[in-house]
Structures are given as C-alpha cells and as structure tokens.
Symmetry: C2
Subunit: 497 residues, 2 copies
Amino acid sequence: MSAALSDLKQRLAEVYDLEKAAAIAGWDQRTMMPPKGAPGRSEVAATLSGIAHERFTSPDVGRLLDELASIEDELEFDSDDASLIRVTRRDWEKARRVPAELAADWAREGGRAHVAWLEAREVSDFSVFRPALQRVHDVALRWAEYMEQGDSPYDAFLDEYEPGMKTAEVRAVFDVLRPELTAIVRRAGEPADDSFLEGGYPIETQQEFLAGVFRDFGFEDGAYRLDPTVHPFATSFSRSDIRMTTRYKPTNLRSLWAGMHEAGHGLTYQGSEPSLARSPLYGNASLGLGESQSRTWENLVGRSLAFWRGRLPELQRLFPQLESVDLETWYRGINRVAPGLIRVDSDEVTYSLHIILRFELEQELVSGALSLDDLPEAWNAKMRDLLGVEVPDDARGVLQDVHWTRASYGYFPTYALGNVLSVQIWRAVEEELGDLDAQLEAGEFGPLYESLRRRIYRHGRKFTPMETLERAIGATEIDPQPYLGYLRSKVAGLQPA
Amino acid sequence: MSAALSDLKQRLAEVYDLEKAAAIAGWDQRTMMPPKGAPGRSEVAATLSGIAHERFTSPDVGRLLDELASIEDELEFDSDDASLIRVTRRDWEKARRVPAELAADWAREGGRAHVAWLEAREVSDFSVFRPALQRVHDVALRWAEYMEQGDSPYDAFLDEYEPGMKTAEVRAVFDVLRPELTAIVRRAGEPADDSFLEGGYPIETQQEFLAGVFRDFGFEDGAYRLDPTVHPFATSFSRSDIRMTTRYKPTNLRSLWAGMHEAGHGLTYQGSEPSLARSPLYGNASLGLGESQSRTWENLVGRSLAFWRGRLPELQRLFPQLESVDLETWYRGINRVAPGLIRVDSDEVTYSLHIILRFELEQELVSGALSLDDLPEAWNAKMRDLLGVEVPDDARGVLQDVHWTRASYGYFPTYALGNVLSVQIWRAVEEELGDLDAQLEAGEFGPLYESLRRRIYRHGRKFTPMETLERAIGATEIDPQPYLGYLRSKVAGLQPA
C-alpha cells in the first residue's frame, strides 16, 4: 500500500474512533444516563465532534487526497481503496466549505430552538417557537450559501442526506405519489379494528418476543443489544457492536414494529463488509437507503400476512388475550389505514402523504416563498388537502416533529424515499428467492438477509445512493410504481370478505 | 482572568472531555457492551487516550504554565487557580518524561500479560504467566528510569498513585501495622458463624435494599446509577453523573458491602466543588485517600453495630430467612475475622496483612532483590509468616490479583493506606459530630457526608494526599494508631458474651 494511502487510512480511523466515542456517549445519554448528566455530556459531545472535525478537515488530509488522485485513477471504481479516496474527497470538500463559527452557531441555535419547541408544544402555540425557529432557519440559509449551488436552493439540504440527489428527482417521484396515494386512501374505506393492540401487555413478555424475532432475523449472538428508550433509534460502534432501541409501553403492542424497524437499521450495519471497518465507508449510502431497509423489516416483513401466519401462534401463547383474534383480524388490524394527524402514528399508505406535505413546505421555506409566520396555516391547509383532516391545534400540527428545531431541511423526504425504495428493491429480491412468503412464514430469514446484504449492506458508504441502487438491482432511477402497486394490492387484500 | 489562564483552562477542559469520553466507553464496556464489541472498543480507547495525551503534553501547555508562574505566585496557594496551575505543572512534567513508544509498549505488554495471566490462572501455573510478566516488568523498570529518582527505586511507582509520598513513609506505617495486626488476628479467636450470608437472595431484592441505602447516604436523585458488573468499580463523568457497580449473586448477600464500598467512591465524586468541573482538579487526591472513603462507607458505616441496629429489621422484612438471625449474631457474622488465602475475600483485620505482603514483595522485585522465578515461593513463605496459612496452588496464591499484569507496582499499598486513613479521619469527624452512632442507627447520614465533603471531597485533586489530610483533620502524618485501636476494640466487642 502507498505510504499516502496508509497515512490517510490511519487518520480516518482516528476520526472514526472519535465519532464512535461520540456515538457511545450519545447512546448512553439516550438509554442509560441519569438526567442530571446532560450538561456535562453536551461538553463531551461538543469536544469530540470539534476535534473530529478539526482532524478530518486538516490541510494534511487534502494534501494526501491530492497525492492519491493518480492512484485513484488506476484503481477500479468499485474497489475499497478507490471508494475510500472518492468518498473522503467528497466529505472533505463539503466539510471544508463550512466555517467553524457557522457550525457552532447552528448547533447553539438548534439547542435553543429545541428548548423553545418543547415549551411551545407544551402550550400548543407555534408563536412560542417562532423566534427561535427563525434564528436557526437563518443560520441554515447562511450555511446553504457556502454549499455548491444546485438547480434548486433546496439541493444543498437534500445533498446532506442523499448525496448526489437533486430536488427535481425527488419531486418527480413525489408528484406521482401524491394523487395515487390519496386515491388509495379513499379506496381503503372504513378503518379496520385494531383495538386488540391496546390492553395489558407486560414489557418483559414483549421483550422476550422481540428477542426471538431479532435472533431469527439473523443477528449474531454477542454482537448487539436491544434496549428501551423514549425515542427509538439504532446506532452501531462497529459491525460487532450494534445498539437498537424501542419504546415499550405496557398498555399496547406497538413497540413490536418500532423494534423491527430498528432491527432493519441494525442489519444494514451488521451486513457491512468487514474491510470497511474503522473507515468513513462504514455506514449507509444515504438516509433514504437506510430507511428503505428499516421499512423492509418493519413493513414488508413485519406487517406481512406470511410472517404472521407463522408467528401469531407464538404471540398468542405469550399474550393469551390474543387467542380470540384470528389471523385475518390481526392482519387487517395491524395494517389499518386511516388518515390521521400524526406522522409517527400513521400507516403505510398515509405515511408518505405526511412526508410530501413537509417536503413541499420545506421547499417554500427555503426559497422564501413561505414565511414562518404563515407556516401553521399552510400546514393546516395542506393537511386538509392531502389527508382530509382538520388540525385542531399546533401541538398536533406544525409542532409535532423535532426535525425543524435544527432546521434539518431535506431530512423528511428520505422517509418517503425509503418507502419507495424498499418495495423497488424487494421486487428484485422476490424474483431471486422465489417463494419468499413461504420463507417468511417458516421464520427463515437467512436468504432474505443474505440477498439484501449482498445487494446493499456490504457496500456501506462506498457509493452514492443511486450508484448503490444500480449495483443492488440494476436500476438507474427511483421508480414509485412498485411501491404503489404493493399498496394497491395490499389495500385490496385488506377489505373484509 | 488572564488570557493565558483562560487558554489553559479551555485546553484542560478538552482533555478532560476526551478522558471522560474514554471513561464512558469504559463503563459501557464493563456493564453493557456485547462481548464481540471488544476489539473495536480497544481502538476507540487507544485513540482517545492517545489524543488526550498528545494535547495535554503539547509544548503550548508548557508555555502557558511558564507564563502563569508569576500569576501563581500572587495567588493563594489554596485557591482554585493556583492549584490548577500547580497540579497541571506536576502532571505535565510527569507526562512529558515518558516517551510515547514506552507508554505504548507498556499498554501492549500489559494486554499480553493479561491474556497470559488468565491462562495461567486457569491451569494454576505461575510458569505460564512468568515470561509475559517478565516483559511487562522490564518495561515498568525502563519507565521508572525516566521518572524522578527518589530515595528508593519504588518511589517512582508509588508517586503514580500517591503524589508526593515516599516509600519510607509507607514502610514506617506498615512496620507498625505488621506485628500489631498479627497480634489482633490471634486475639480474634475462633471465626464467627456467617453462614446466614449464603442462601437464596433474589437479586432484585438486593437491588431494592441497596437503592434505599444509596438514597439515604445522600446521593442526589437523577445524578447516579448503580449497575451490575463482574468486577465492581465506580467512575464518574461529572459530579452529576456518577456510575457505581456491584456484583450481585443470587446465592449470597456479599454484594451489599461491595455496593457500599463503591458508594463511598461515588460520594467523593458528588462532593467535589462545582468550580472544579471539567478540570484536572476533579477527582481524588490519591488512590489511598479515595480508598479511605470507600472503606469508610463500607466498613465504618456498613459493618457497624449502630448502622445495623437501625437497618437489620428492613433487611429481615425483605429476606424473611434472616428473621431468626439476631443483631448480635448478624454483627459478629458480617465482621468475621479469619485468615484466608484471598485478598478480596478477607476481613477488616487481615486485609492489610495481604497488602503488606504485596508491598514487601514489590519492593524486592523493583530493587532486583527478588527474581520473578522465586516469586511464588516468596509469596507462599510470606503467607505462612503473616497469615499462618498454607497456599495450596498458584491460582489461590501469587496469581490471584490482576494488578501485576500491568506491573502496577505501588497500587496495592494504597488499599492499606485507605484503611489506615479512614479511621484517622473518622476520629476527627466523630469529635465534631458527637453521637455519630445515634445518627447511623437513625439512618441520618447527612451530617457525616457533609463533614467529609467539607474536609475532603470538595478539594478534589487540588492538593497532594498529605496536603489534603492536613486540611481535612490538621494532621501532618499518617498515624496507624487510630486504625489499630479501632480494630482492637472491634475484635474485643466481637467475642461471644
């Protein structure tokens, strides 16, 4: 190996370690830390991210990247080393654009906006959040000026989460989804009964069930944990130390799907090629591609008829109150379609409509077409338009999500892209594996995991999301039709006989 | 504040954050981490400690210390700022003496020796450990050559744990203890019955009891945790995030004292003055002084008759099998004196004899008077001499402790110094508080904690252990007599009526 490459790898490995130290501290903060540890923990997090940024953006890294340009040209595009140089150059050039003070301003204003948001939600009044949101919004727009200027002012934001993707590409997909999804919602008719999901469900028993599901999904013994938390998330410190969380409530069973969702994220970490360890190539190509996999295990597996045909008897043994619920009733209940106010409570069909709403509003906010003053009204009008529901108050409307406290524009669309991509990829896997339903019913997830690992997980961050999609299934475009076809056929199958 | 001082504080705060990030990762490793996370975790730990060391030992810090010399002279010796400059200069000069390669050698050989030690213990054969021990021993002696040369070659090792203390001072104390302790052991007579400590003790109930004890000791709600682990320890990331651990077994109650021991360490962290936060002054003046406080809460409180007069009824309610054990029997059992083979299982009287044995052997190893080949035999002879027991095999003899895998000479004596100091300090507190027994019986630990906090905990690392002792109780020497008096009177009180 060239001395420059070996030097670069050593530097990147140290940056990786610093980032993982921050991730460990973050996991601890969200699962274990006593509440009064928060101020000290913020200092630790700020120091680690500051030093990681300082070391990563050093001119020495740039000099090494220059030296390595000729080596990169000689290497196969898909090789680990060429990918490392390519991705590092992209990350380095982006990171160098942002002045340190601006990053600090953003973090500080984001922290303040978070406090204001909590207060505003408490009293359900957007105007309490408004001034702090304006400040962090202004910092975000200042930040965007330092970024490469695309066709749309929103491109810079999107690129943070979907490297290389353009606003126009996303809009093209969402423009197809918008009318089709509203039509599917109409066809879904009366919402099914899912009241059996509420009741007395002891947390220990839920944990026992999920532990078995995780094992069967293919997690390696001694290489992961599943813990309770308030806002479920997954993270990993190496492919042999994966941390997933879910939010258990003793009064309902909804944590099961939150758990399977995080399992999907966890499997992408576990499936990463070992050669990518301690490098910036470890991880997911994009948020959308990562989300496509959490959605795969949550929905395409975890809400499928085949999965529950195999697994409902076990759940009924653990929770005898479910013995009177037959498979059809169960399946219809866990797939209940009903337009509602809250994104995180929404079903597979309406979920993407909640996202389209946010995507449209964000573009207007970023372009200046919509002022923050008019945001609540615009939100409520779009809810009426897209989902046919009346927003009764800000808490259940414009104040429901945490994302805007950091003005993280561009984040929301990745959720819907994940939904779309999940089915597009699933179709290719189905074609490869044949009777996938029989495997899901039998609890044999090995071939599914292996196929997804080979197609996607092993690549980590080597490629952009579109490059990854091409390697995964040969597609060069995001195609919303498989997702729409899946939803149409699912909704048709949910109708009472 | 001078610009130099403010610059120094900022740098030290960042070093502190890096060290605490390593501590968080270490706590996670010992309580939560899935086993396969170990290799990745070692990398994170090595990177954090490398960067912390690099930043702390930078010439810039030396330059700031030079600039601050005149300011230091103008400040009160006891002020936070003067102490910060003084302690940082001491730490910096020591850290600069050691070449980075040597520190790396030590860490690497220590890791290898740890592996060899585990194997050797498994087969109870010192010769399996011997070659790896020789290598780490040699690195340790090389290290000592870089240190300031004291009157004894052992001084450099001791100074790592007891800043400023000399081997001769410790020897003077231990020379008094040696004959007196053996005499007290003889007077203790037949060991009392403590078989009631074994049996079925559900872990959840033990946790419940300890949680109540911790609350009463004075821990602040929402600022600490107590978790299970294999080898109990305490650590803290700030005075509002203190982590204690104990090792529960469902077959005996001994975790209670391990828990109270760690509570003592935890209280020293909580009692640190808030102004010392994020600085090298946060912590304990020395291992011995820290240990004096863990021993205080474990033994002087947790094995006292007064404490259990107040608390035994609660324990009996939680564990009905103890209802037939009266207070006298309980007290005699938990204070059972019996010479044995294993340091960590030993009682208050014999414990320090185990330490004196190690202290004597370590001095001979460091001076070269004893070769590693002869170590097991020397160990066994001293066990016979000091404790009157025959060592049946290496596993229960020379291989029992982990400390020598890192050649951490100088560490062991701090345990016995802790015992001695605990009673010396306790006598002063007793004089101040009057009827301490009545307070222990009533479960009122506020005045005790407050006195110890004011005398010791608040100072953190501002002073050397001897400077701290002087400020705590006005003493300028370590006096073994209070400790011996305490043991004599305790042993006398343990005799059956």
